[in-house]
């Protein structure tokens, strides 16, 4: 495919992505508005004195029409202003910036380990297809994949933090300075890694097994091309396209804040911010996060599609 073709593909996808993000934001706004109660009710808590709720509503400008509030927020967004939180009056951009650090750190560490482990084990299993190594890897990945994050997290904390005392059980009190306490990151990263590694290993293995069994690999072997070259130069790229897309989904999942892991290990990332904002009916914060998550998803999927496009151009025709 020519360079201009790729450019127009990217441009089309970006336009579509922008439309998708707008749709997500509108949907999130509508859903948050349709939840019972609003920020005033949530703030009033167990003291829902009607006068107090009314006063809160007025103070938060919730008495204005829905569309007007949405319009104001959208106008602000056009200037890069995410608005202010209803619950605290602090800028939403700070909520996002504060929560993004820990989330990004965890995601980066996880991906940094995920790629080599996932591809390494996948290739290893494919090389020994049907052998004991393959069976061990396949069996193990299937078993770990079946364990939900929270269960694995609780198990790891109990064994490695509380029983053996090797690692701290949570990151409580470390705030955003998680890098200064690397030991606290080990368990959360392990939990985050567990399932993505399994799916990646299985994808890579399947892709390589398919490719190695294909006529062109057999042909290459007949011509005396060395086995390593067949495996890494011809078979592996074939497995990369689906793996890249899977990787993009994983990164997206990681960057949107994995609530279970954040709650269990007390890591104040984006998932925690979102959870609190929904409970407080803090619409501006929820919308701000919806924009960020929407943009992230669009960009990551686009990136994966471009990579897949390069590696296996035929898939691009379908997309």
């Amino acid at each position: 495919m020519s360079g201009s073709g790729l450019r127009s593909f990217v441009a089309r996808r970006l336009l579509l992505g922008a439309a998708q993000t707008v749709a997500v934001v509108l949907l999130v706004f509508a859903l948050t508005e349709s939840l019972p109660g609003d920020a005033a009710v949530a703030l009033a808590g167990d003291q829902p004195d009607p006068d107090r709720v009314a006063a809160l509503r007025e103070a938060l400008h919730l008495d204005r029409p829905v569309l007007e509030r949405l319009g104001d927020w959208a106008a602000g967004l056009a200037h890069g202003d995410f608005g202010t939180s209803l619950a605290s009056g602090r800028p939403v951009s700070r909520y996002i910036a504060d929560g993004f650090g820990p989330t990004l750190l965890l995601a980066a560490l996880t991906v940094a380990l995920l790629v080599p482990i996932g591809f390494g084990l996948g290739v290893l299993a494919a090389r020994h297809e049907g052998g004991p190594v393959d069976r061990l890897v396949s069996g193990l990945t299937l078993a770990v994949y079946a364990v939900p994050e929270f269960a694995l997290g609780v198990l790891l904390v109990t064994v490695f933090a509380l029983r053996l005392g090797w690692l701290p059980p949570t990151a409580v009190g470390y705030g955003t300075d998680l890098l200064a306490h690397p030991a606290a990151l080990v368990l959360p990263v392990l939990v985050l890694l567990s399932r993505p590694v399994c799916s990646l290993v299985r994808l890579v293995r399947a892709g390589m097994v398919d490719a190695l069994a294909s006529p062109y690999a057999a042909h290459a072997r007949r011509y005396g091309v060395p086995g390593a070259r067949v495996r890494y130069a011809h078979a592996l790229p074939n497995a990369l396209a689906p793996a890249a897309q899977q990787l993009a989904r994983t990164v997206d999942w990681l960057l949107c804040g994995v609530i279970v892991v954040e709650a269990l290990f007390v890591i104040p990332g984006l998932g925690t911010v979102l959870l609190n904002a929904v409970a407080e009916r803090d619409v501006p914060v929820v919308q701000g996060l919806a924009v960020v998550f929407g943009v992230l998803t669009v960009v990551l999927n686009l990136g994966a599609d471009v990579v897949a496009h390069r590696l296996a151009p035929r898939a691009g025709v379908v997309a």
Binding site: S85, R90, G173, G175, V266, R281
Partner: protein
């Protein structure tokens, strides 16, 4: 060795008896830093040691938390607020008002004017606490433009007419006689801040100045607040050098952090956690009795509960022991359809109500409410709610009543059940019995979830508020409680313990103070051994 679990109960019982005149407690509270403690060390032994940093884990409010004491809403907010600030009075273990920044209060004959004298205390920046600061704080809370939580509690005060009578004297003019005015001074969130503090948004989050036992060091909303000893604290400097509040919303995370030595104090633990670790030697479990009333609220203004026989039948349907064991995992005591077990003025002389299904059935029959169907609103908003609803549904079935349990949204539950529905799960933190009545059981009450509106009951409340003699006043409260016991809208089946965990080296944690009282989450008397 006596029963270690509730050493404070006995001690507190004694204090309440001798301290019936609220000023009596004063002698106990005066002590120097490093000197003898006010009694919390009785069960722990040893003299307080100075120094160290204590980290306390609470469930918090996320990134929108603030240190503005007047916005305090959650337990974490209150714990931070009471470390940084003081109120004029605060609640003792029996929820009677104990003097704090106020050294004494005196009413005129009609009890609608009160002279309050402040003690000599200083804010963290060295300025003295004056009458002006008090009036500023109360006027800030009462600001009609804002919705501070304590506004309703301060409503009896005519703040326009109230004035400073000197540097440390204030005359409070009240809108009507209020014998329990000291309760107003102790109200949830009625903290004293320096004059003009909090005029600009975010003031309190950058540098909150209070007169409390700890001064501000740093604050990151939703994560941590670090405080340092206030050496000039009027009640003696705290033993700890530093106090850090950290936020961990998951109960399992708080327990793990405590077990792993990352914090020394974990607030709000589950009964199952408590059972798993009690007397295992790893951590200390502290149960604060009578902290949270648990019950069902029946709307007395609509069928079927507008018939008092149906309400009484429901009182008799409840097997309270089963509810406490099932919904609270046994971490609590049974209730007797009255608020405030163990508190001042509680009508402890009324017989404990037991399940009586035959009588319940016959009452329902008399009321023409056989084969009754009721919807019970519940939600995961408080521990034990959904369990209690399920258990009560099964108990009601035995009396021929079909209870249909409906799960509501957790974020808007309290507001949803205020006006709609007929039967709902209900809970309440500790507050004086008088406050429970005035907030929930008078015609003009703002959160009257049982729709209990009776002119003669209102009149009794007014009578109590204009009765100067404490014994006579107690008699009036007794009459009101007998009425509620016989035909009120609150089916109060239990009082939940509030459970804390502490590291083994944490000493001086008061064990007899229900949540929300002065000695709960109080860290100036705590030390690290």
């Amino acid at each position: 060795m006596h029963d270690e679990r509730f050493p404070g109960l006995r001690r507190r019982g004694l204090l309440a008896a001798t301290g019936a005149v609220t000023l009596g407690a004063l002698a106990l509270t005066a002590c120097g830093g490093g000197g003898t403690d006010s009694g919390a060390d009785g069960g722990d032994g040893g003299t307080p040691k100075r120094g160290g940093r204590l980290r306390a884990a609470f469930a918090g409010g996320g990134a929108s938390e603030t240190l503005d004491p007047h916005l305090a809403n959650l337990f974490a907010d209150v714990a931070r607020a009471k470390a940084l600030f003081d109120k004029l009075a605060d609640y003792g273990a029996d929820l009677s008002a104990q003097p704090r920044l106020a050294t004494k209060w005196e009413a005129n004959r009609t009890m609608d004017r009160w002279q309050v004298t402040l003690r000599q205390a200083t804010f963290h920046d060295g300025r003295p606490v004056t009458a002006k600061d008090v009036l500023y704080s109360y006027r800030r809370i009462a600001d009609p433009e804002k919705a501070y939580r304590a506004k309703a509690s301060l409503e009896p005060i005519d703040l326009e007419a109230s004035r400073a009578t000197g540097e440390r004297g204030i005359e409070f003019v009240l809108k009507r006689p209020t014998a329990e005015f000291p309760n107003v001074l102790a109200a949830f969130g009625a903290y004293i801040v320096p004059e003009n503090a909090g005029r600009k948004a975010g003031d309190f989050d950058r540098n909150p100045i209070g007169s409390g036992p700890f001064r501000f060091v740093s604050f990151t909303p939703g994560r941590s607040a670090v405080l340092r000893r206030h050496d000039a604290y009027w009640e003696g400097a705290p033993h700890l050098d530093e106090l850090e509040f950290v936020v961990a919303n998951e109960e399992s995370a708080r327990v793990n952090a405590l077990l792993g030595g990352q914090v020394e104090y974990a607030h709000e633990l589950n009964p199952t956690t408590a059972r798993a670790h009690e007397d295992k030697g790893q951590i200390e479990i502290v149960r604060l009795r009578n902290s949270a009333m648990q019950g069902f609220c029946m709307k007395t203004d609509r069928p079927p509960f507008d018939d008092r026989r149906v309400r009484e039948a429901f009182f008799l349907i409840a097997d309270r022991k089963e509810l406490v064991d099932g919904a609270l995992s046994g971490a609590g005591v049974v209730g007797n359809d009255l608020f405030g077990k163990g508190y001042e003025y509680y009508a402890a002389d009324l017989p404990q109500r037991e399940q009586d299904l035959d009588r319940a059935k016959s009452l329902l029959k008399q009321a023409g409410a056989e084969k009754l169907k009721v919807r019970l609103d519940t939600s995961a908003v408080a521990a034990g709610f959904t369990e209690a609803a399920g258990i009560f549904r099964d108990q009601a079935a035995k009396a021929g009543v079909t209870v249909e349990v409906r799960m509501g949204s957790k974020d808007s539950y309290w507001s949803d059940i205020l006006d709609s529905g007929t039967l709902a799960c209900y809970r309440s933190g500790a507050m004086p019995i008088e406050a429970h009545i005035s907030q929930r059981l008078l015609t003009g009450s703002t959160t009257n979830a049982t729709r209990w509106r009776h002119k003669d009951f209102d009149a009794l409340y007014r009578q109590a508020q204009s009765t100067r003699d404490r014994t006579e006043r107690a008699a009036v409260y007794g009459r009101m409680q007998r009425r509620l016991y016989a035909e009120g809208g609150f089916l109060i089946w239990g009082f939940a313990d509030w459970i804390l965990g502490t590291a083994k080296n944490v000493k001086g944690v008061e064990t007899g103070a229900p949540a929300n009282t002065l000695d709960w989450a109080r860290f100036d008397k705590v030390w690290l051994a």
